[in-house]
Symmetry: C2
Subunit: 151 residues, 2 copies
Amino acid sequence: MVEEQDEKILAELQKDGRATNQQLADTVGMSTSACWRRVRALEESGVIEGYSALVKREAAGFATSAILHVSLERHDTTFVDEFVARVMQRREVLECFATTGDADYHLRVVVRDMDAYNKFLDEFMFRIPGIRHVRTNVILKEIKTGVALPF
Amino acid sequence: MVEEQDEKILAELQKDGRATNQQLADTVGMSTSACWRRVRALEESGVIEGYSALVKREAAGFATSAILHVSLERHDTTFVDEFVARVMQRREVLECFATTGDADYHLRVVVRDMDAYNKFLDEFMFRIPGIRHVRTNVILKEIKTGVALPF
DNA sequence: TCCATTTTGGTAAAATCTACCAAAATTGAG
DNA sequence: CTCAATTTTGGTAGATTTTACCAAAATGGA
């Protein structure tokens, strides 16, 4: 489905999401029209889900972030669906993964300051029904925050 | 430093990193030239670190991912710097955070399959000097993988 | 208030995007 | 292998967008 030439395109568009079609065509060794059509196909088929500006967190005023380990009391669809639905619409929750291991879920949360984080816990997280346990791991340092798949 | 109008621009460029300057100017209510200059300033000052295409992981052939909890034996700069340097150049490691809590670091790793993950552990992770403990939490489901700061 | 500085909106040339075309490459059946 | 059907390619041109410049408006410090 995704061929080698597509991977080159994807790799390049991950590195520079605003590369012009001509730059792209050059770096992957295609004509502009062929390249443009493949990009379009990747977008329409949903392989490319979108494009985003990557904004420097501290510069934008988000000083605090944490990784939360969350466990649920029970794993009925009712509880799980409710949890997922709530997490999806909270924009402070950048990431959420269901994982093996001690916790059911790993969440990454980004907020402006500790006050906002405390509020997030009290007014959102602790009010989700069926939460058994929440452990906060404050992020001391962001070593790496990548989005590019390792083609 | 980052004003309200800049936040609007950043929010929009996070949602659509390829929005044309005209679209942007419309949605934030500015003239195209003023808008364009602000975007340029945000890029040059480093508030916008770049742009990236967001690629659907499974469609691109990366079936397996995990969150690793890593602890070091000692926390001398020598060991820490070595760990950080190695992690930085491994493209399978999409994210790495130094955190409070039981583990020193949280890593998110993305690979094509379990074989590749096993190889990643054996040939990379377990060979980093000064590693005390590595716990793998396999990602069963990606509930949410966002990059947009919650302006 | 007044002057200096910054930010703004408008404009036009250069660059880019995007939809078309015919030609080339690929595929599959006989 | 051959040939026709289908897909993919490169080239082109009009429409759109980017980008550098200008004078006017807004800002803010003394």
